[in-house]
Symmetry: C2
């Protein structure tokens, strides 16, 4: 790893203190199998907290508490015994759910490829009652299922409270109210998007506070954009830029993600597009803050990402597509990433060009400008299929949504043609579609870019609006209206239901609609 200790220390000095907020149980609920509900589960209130506190629970009893909204935080509970003095430990199982599926479907049924250790559960033994217990781990949830696995024949237990100390570094005080003329669904979408962003804002911008609970640069880019229009925590973006800049992979590439504990360290995952996004994040940050010191310090690293990206171009000027790389683009097994990678490279070169201008770096400006031309021309020559009216990707000349969207964002075609490209995309609707809100974000952004504001809003309403109708308290990592249990990990139980890359409706609303 390439460590710049000074940069890492700069990042660590920017660790924010977290705000906390105590939340109580709102309802005791049941989760009910319901074909009409999202993923087949609906919830029903059946007891008020005041009544619940009077209940006593013995071996085999269980209940589900509902905090009424999605929270990230620490759980505290107070348990007392009922009956004879407790003559054996209390054995409890807790299951935390962002969504009803996690409460209703046994975790034992999980067989996805991501670690089952992400499924939030605890087996607890309480040796002494009454007890006030502060669980040491952080959870991400709306619901908790409490199962009393055993007490003894001589006693039961009752719960005086189960509270959540919700935490975030997203201070809402700078978020302005939306104009009153906006429709209710847009106002509500904005609220949920900000809640999503806020719950992902901890000591870094996390991708998902349930899973993976860490800083990914692909998510950071979108979070930072939403943050500039809402919470405006500039230092948190700065901290994340210095974490990525201060700890790179051996060849100089910015890593795809960073861990904070037990000390800051970069993961060994390398993603072609994610590394390049360092340039875009830095440019966005400068535009939002005019922080010239940071720009000057991090510019050499940004420039190096462009050089590394360009080194993947073949003699024609096309990103080499082989088995040795990974460009993320979207969670889609069949998607060929060549064209979108090419577009991301051009997109980031253009961000770099702006930065070179700001910095007055003539030589670098020339280098970048020439390469934009080289890669753009190559794209038109080798990836543009005039007959089909689409960009193709890979040896099999695949036509996908992702390739067109990214090429539109890279503005490889002249402006009017760019708009027509997207119109054609909707008309022809290639079968290689989009699977994540991350990809949908880029579609909406492209529509706004080419001036199709009405369609951008309509698509946003169709996609994020459908999540809302399906009961989202925060926006999700994955959503396919046609396959609501879709998961790239083998099980919807492990999907993240508060996910950074899904927070951008507030960015669109506040940038383009007001």
């Amino acid at each position: 790893m390439l460590i710049n200790q000074q940069m890492v220390e700069k990042a660590e000095k920017l660790i924010p203190s977290l705000q906390s907020n105590e939340v109580e149980v709102q309802h005791i609920i049941e989760v009910i199998a319901d074909d009409a509900a999202f993923q087949g589960w609906s919830t029903k209130q059946f007891m008020k907290p005041q009544e619940w506190k009077k209940q006593s629970y013995g071996k085999g009893d269980s209940f589900i508490v509902d905090f009424g909204d999605h929270y990230v935080g620490y759980v505290e509970l107070a348990i007392r015994s009922v009956g004879s003095p407790p003559d054996a430990p209390l054995k409890l199982k807790l299951t935390f759910g962002e969504m009803p599926c996690e409460i209703a479907e046994p975790f034992e049924s999980y067989d996805g490829w991501l670690s089952s250790s992400w499924l939030q559960e605890e087996l607890m033994f309480v040796d002494v009652l009454p007890a006030e217990i502060k669980l040491p781990r952080r959870y991400c949830f709306r619901y908790i299922k409490v199962e009393v696995l055993d007490t003894s024949v001589k006693y039961k237990v009752a719960f005086d409270y189960i509270n959540c100390k919700a935490v975030t570094s997203g201070d809402m005080s700078k978020v302005t109210a939306l104009p009153s003329n906006l429709p209710y669904d847009i106002v509500e979408m904005d609220r949920i998007a900000i809640k999503t962003l806020q719950n992902c804002m901890q000591t870094v911008f996390e991708d998902g506070p349930k899973r993976d609970r860490r800083l990914w640069i692909g998510d950071l880019r979108l979070q930072a954009q939403a943050n500039y229009y809402t919470i405006q925590n500039y230092d948190l973006v700065k901290r994340c830029l210095y974490l990525f800049g201060g700890m790179r992979l051996e060849d100089g590439t910015v890593g795809a993600c960073v861990f904070e504990k037990p000390y800051a360290h970069v993961d060994d995952t390398k993603l072609f597009d994610y590394a390049l996004f360092f340039v875009a994040v830095l440019h966005d940050y400068y535009k939002a803050t005019q922080d010239m010191d940071t720009l000057q310090e991090l510019w050499p690293i940004a420039l190096e990402q462009l050089e590394i990206g360009l080194s993947r171009l073949d003699v024609r000027g096309i990103v080499t597509d082989d088995s040795t790389w990974w460009c993320f683009t979207d969670w889609h097994d069949e998607l060929n990433k060549q064209a979108s990678a090419q577009a991301v490279l051009i997109y980031c070169l253009k961000h770099g060009r702006e930065l070179a201008i700001i910095l007055g770096q003539e030589e670098q400006l020339k280098y970048i400008t020439e390469n934009i031309e080289f890669a753009s021309n190559a794209s038109m020559k080798y990836l543009w299929d005039e007959k089909a009216g689409f960009f193709v990707s890979g040896e099999e000349r695949q036509i996908s949504w992702a390739s067109q969207i990214w090429m539109a964002l890279a503005e490889v075609l002249p402006s009017t043609h760019n708009s027509l490209l997207l119109t054609r995309l909707f008309e022809d609707s290639p079968s290689i579609g989009m699977t994540t809100p991350y990809m949908y974000h880029h579609l909406i952004e492209a529509l706004f870019l080419v001036g199709n504001k009405e369609q951008a809003i309509a698509e946003m309403q169709a996609y994020w609006g459908a999540m809302m109708q399906d009961g989202a308290n925060t926006f999700w990592e994955l959503y396919n209206p046609k396959d609501k249990k879709l998961s790239p990990y083998g099980s919807n139980l492990i999907n993240s239901y508060c996910h950074a890359w899904s927070c951008t409706p507030t960015y669109f609303i506040r940038k383009y609609l007001i």
Copy 2:
């Protein structure tokens, strides 16, 4: 409850500080199904700790560590990751075993009537690696099975150490060496008995450090006797006497057991024999310490136990046998307790008589003496079956080992007849036998009392010696050489394999053999 706060405070001031001792893993072992071994499980060493520390373990891997002896204490472990940076929590399961059965047989199979929460296991999620973890609960074990339930596809884990901080209030420095002429098996039996006592000596004399982990007066009586000949922690006995004396049941009865946490409190279990033993424990304590202050302060409570016991006598002078009481005597569903209860009452009256003499309480001495006569005469008249040559118990005139043994200890018959009673007992061997080391203790004590020293030693060797041959590191709560999985709780998994009432071989050896 009747609380004498001053007595409770006196008890609490006597909370001992615990000695601790760091123990390391001795071997990595396998547990093997083996019909020839105790309960069908033997162990086999297959890796040295140095090698084990070099291994890495992924999802589904497991190993068993052996600490080489039985310990009560706190576990600390150090875990590091091997491979890529850990990108998901580590999910671990720990299973603690005093005996191989607990390691080999899944706890899910347990369906006894005692709480499954006594089975020592933990499900752990480790969010950050490397980690040095101090588990907060106390365990009682020789073996720990470690199952790596999940890591992630990117990393495995290795263990730098798993240590046990063993704790006890039993300081071995006052224990004298046995004379060198004693046979090896007796020396070894003494060592294991003291280890049993020591591991049960915590902030009270616990019955079993795995289960129930608390002060029972029936166990206390035997532990205190063994303690006077070995570890000589007189203050711990004093503390326990004040706990029982300071917190009694509503009618004045000394409770059967006491809990220490979260504050000292007496359980609501009332046992006829256990309450009376308060008198015997006090007498034994006085004989060992000559602590007149304590005797004087606790004597009124002791006397009250005799009065309460006597109040159960019917007009004939026989303990009333109905469905409203519980006299412990032994774990035996078919055993009628009337005769043994009668004998325990006389036995404790006789202890009380000694105390009244020491205290110079003429009137109380007279009262006790008269009642000894009354109850003894009634025993001979209504419970002694001249033809059978045995004491009978209950409406069905049951002849059991327990009734004869306790009547012998109460010395209801003249001295020579007492000896003959025991001889006859072995000859006729009634089918209602003994199930616990607690009952065996009283058999051995009775044999020594009547002067059958050789047989006492032989019986001790046959019973505790067989436990040793079956691999006991500490002596067990339950042992039936003919049914080695016997449990009054429905499963041998929950039996206690280091149990106070099994520690008395050292008392016999040091009182009668040297």
